[in-house]
Amino acid sequence: MAAGSLFASVPRAPPVAVFQLTADFREDRDPRKVNLGVGAYRTDEGQPWVLPVVKKVEQKIANDASLNHEYLPILGLPEFRANASRIVLGDDSRAIKENRVGGVQCLGGTGGLRIGAEFLRRWYNGTNNTATPVYISSPSWENHNSVFVNAGFKDIRAYRYWDAAKRGLDLEGLLEDMESAPEFSIFVLHACAHNPTGTDPTLEQWKQIAAVMKRRFLFPFFDSAYQGFASGCLDRDAWAVRYFVSEGFELFCAQSFSKNFGLYNERVGNLSVVGKDADNVQRVLSQMEKIVRTIWSNPPSQGARIVATTLTCPQLFAEWKDNVKTMADRVLLMRSELRARLQALGTPGTWNHITEQIGMFSFTGLNPKQVEYMIKEKHIYLMASGRINMCGLTTKNLDYVASSIHEAVTKFQ
């Protein structure tokens, strides 16, 4: 055996920023500490929340002696796939009626993105065309880039999205980037509650986006991680995806049930595929099977069972929607409370973006120096980008966070 190691030159990889933030938070002994980092819902007591409907369904599953732990099919639990797709596309979806929708149960939203990306790299725009440009919003969830790189794409580009000066959507830049993108480029679109900016296109703006994408044959790959969580209404949060489908697009939508079902660690996701007709969708799914088989073979059953049971029972479904609204409403409340305090304090700058942005996150506009102050001096943990998770706010810490932001902004420019 070689005296040195075969892996002597393996470098230490940097930790994923958002998890390092939480690790630092955990080690912090300061009693005032607040974690506004990782995107998971918290109650007003700052605690994780297992949805009451989930507890109920888990009990049902536990008491069902007829259930076992057998393998799911490669593409996942059929009742889960069909209902998950129905949730995003709508009960009255023509695409579903026309049998041109397929679902692939995946490990969370990440898994859906990866399977979709692997498929597109192999079969879209030619075969194994690693040169197809993939456009990701600037900024975006940091893992989007890695997913597409690891799926083999060589040309990952940014499309303009966040306008830091006006703290809103750079629609002009976005549309320009779409106009100049090579035909058949893939665009990763956030279905709602854009992460990290919380800034979504309006309905009218979505229509403009769709028009350009149609004209230039650009492929829409939706990332839907917050359906229901953004506005509190499932249908409203799915509007963009449904609009694109009604405009005749073929598209992918990676759905996550981590947040809206609070099933983070069960890894529940669905990749919805909308095609021109049933035959095309069937062939696509057959190739998805081959991709899935060499990554995880078949998906985990627990989370999918919980979601499928909930979605197929009217009572449980109603209860779920109610639980989702509870979460969305608390977030909305924290937004308005934070904004009110900042305005009352006379904190320099404008703060309406806090309530205009939507979903779990807010791009506060704090710069790196201000963020550093927040973390080091005030023990309030947020991302270097200035992104905060509204769920980390509680009635108990609102005052402290508001006054800390005030200090940061007045001390540093």
Binding site: P11, V54, L107, Y264, I295, Q302
Partner: protein, 393 residues
């Protein structure tokens, strides 16, 4: 249109068959003597404990549940192993055996500069090849199964392995070889380890049946432990699909035996970089069950008994199948059925014979003549023997 999966497609065809006597000897999932899936009692107890604890559903770390990872490594290597004591290893939770192999394959593709070549035994589990290929490795084979004896081609294996280019990756099934059920004996493993060491080959163990093969978890992991003892730093994939019956929960682990703790930390950091853009972090349910079982003395004891029970039933079915074939009047030598070990048996039947078994008797198996002995029961072993005799006489 993609072709149906050669292994999982068998079950799908079986489901469509309306013959009351149909038998599914395709996919390797354990069945009890009534042909029913078996949820282990130790699993049920662990599940009840979990339900009572009312835990939250927060994300696991990228590398998974730490208690599970530790317990998994200790199960494989023995908790007094020098590797465990020194900490010169990393274990990450993976999506069962497939996920473990894929993470391992991707890791080697990215960091193992010495070779792109992976040598699999011939034959091997059908999914090994596409997994390594999709990860960007090149596949080759070394002789393993001897169709003449339906046993281990030891001379052929040694011959081939001694010619493998230095520093290539070589994959071994730790026990209960899939699909053949043919395992090397300990003396043979010793010689294999020696030649691997001599040729400086990189050993990748796939252990999907620890406990399930002989009924003894230490005996089944002997080869892995021997290689490590000989100073060979292996990588190891583990699955709990079969030995804990946690198939659909997707419980597995990938371990890298390293030079020292520092290397283990560096390797771990890079495994996380691979996992994050695949699925971010693993599912908790199955890993929690496995962890509780492995770390609770009572449940661990009960689990070990249940695993032995499953292994014993399989050995019993092997014996009964051979006895019934004799009774049918078959003149062939069916010793390999009892010589082989684990869930699978390479019957030696040809594709045409397999096709007849399916068409005429509604007995489903893979085209290579592999049967899952777990699908055999005292109720249907007679029918199976009759059918095999009919197509092979």
């Amino acid at each position: 249109m993609g072709p149906p999966d050669p292994i999982l497609g068998v079950t799908e065809a079986f489901k469509r068959d309306t013959n009351a006597k149909k038998m599914n000897l395709g996919v390797g999932a354990y069945r009890d003597d009534n042909g029913k899936p078996y949820v282990l009692n130790s699993v049920r107890k662990a599940e009840a404990q979990i339900a009572a604890k009312k835990m939250d559903k927060e994300y696991l770390p990228i590398a998974g549940l730490a208690e599970f990872n530790k317990a998994s490594a200790e199960l494989a290597l023995g908790d007094t192993n020098e590797v465990i004591k020194s900490g010169r290893y990393v274990t990450v939770q993976t999506i069962s055996g497939t996920g473990s192999l894929r993470v391992g394959a991707n890791f080697l593709q990215r960091f193992f500069k010495y070779s792109r070549d992976v040598y699999l035994p011939k034959p091997s589990w059908g999914n090994h090849t596409p997994i390594f290929r999709d990860a960007g490795m090149q596949l080759h084979a070394y002789r393993y199964y001897d169709p003449k004896t339906c046993g281990f081609d030891f001379a052929g294996a040694l011959d081939d392995i001694s010619k493998i280019p230095e520093q290539s990756v070589i994959l071994f099934h730790a026990c209960a070889h899939n699909p053949t059920g043919v395992d090397p004996r300990p003396e043979q493993w010793k010689e294999l380890a020696a030649v691997v060491k001599k040729r400086n080959l990189f050993a990748f163990f796939d252990m999907a049946y620890q406990g399930f093969a002989s009924g003894d978890i230490n005996r089944d992991s002997w080869a892995v432990r021997h290689f490590i003892e000989q100073g060979i730093n292996v990588v190891l994939s583990q699955s709990y699909a079969k030995n804990m019956g946690l198939y659909g929960e997707r419980v597995g682990a990938f371990s890298v035996i390293c030079k020292d703790v520092d290397e283990a930390k560096r390797v771990e950091s890079q495994l996380k970089i691979l996992i994050r853009p695949m699925y971010s972090n693993p599912p908790i349910n199955g890993a929690r069950i496995a962890s509780i079982i492995l770390t609770s003395p009572d449940l661990r004891k009960e689990w070990l008994e249940e695993v032995k029970g499953m292994a014993d039933r399989i050995i019993d079915m092997r014996n009964q199948l051979v006895a019934n074939l004799k009774k049918e009047g078959s003149s062939h030598n069916w010793h390999h059925i009892t010589d082989q070990i684990g869930m699978f048996c390479y019957t030696g039947l040809k594709p045409e014979q397999v096709e007849r078994l399916t068409k005429e008797f509604s007995i489903y198996m893979t085209k290579d003549g592999r049967i899952s002995v777990a699908g055999v029961t005292s109720g249907n072993v007679g029918y199976l023997a009759r059918a095999i005799h009919q197509v092979s006489k």
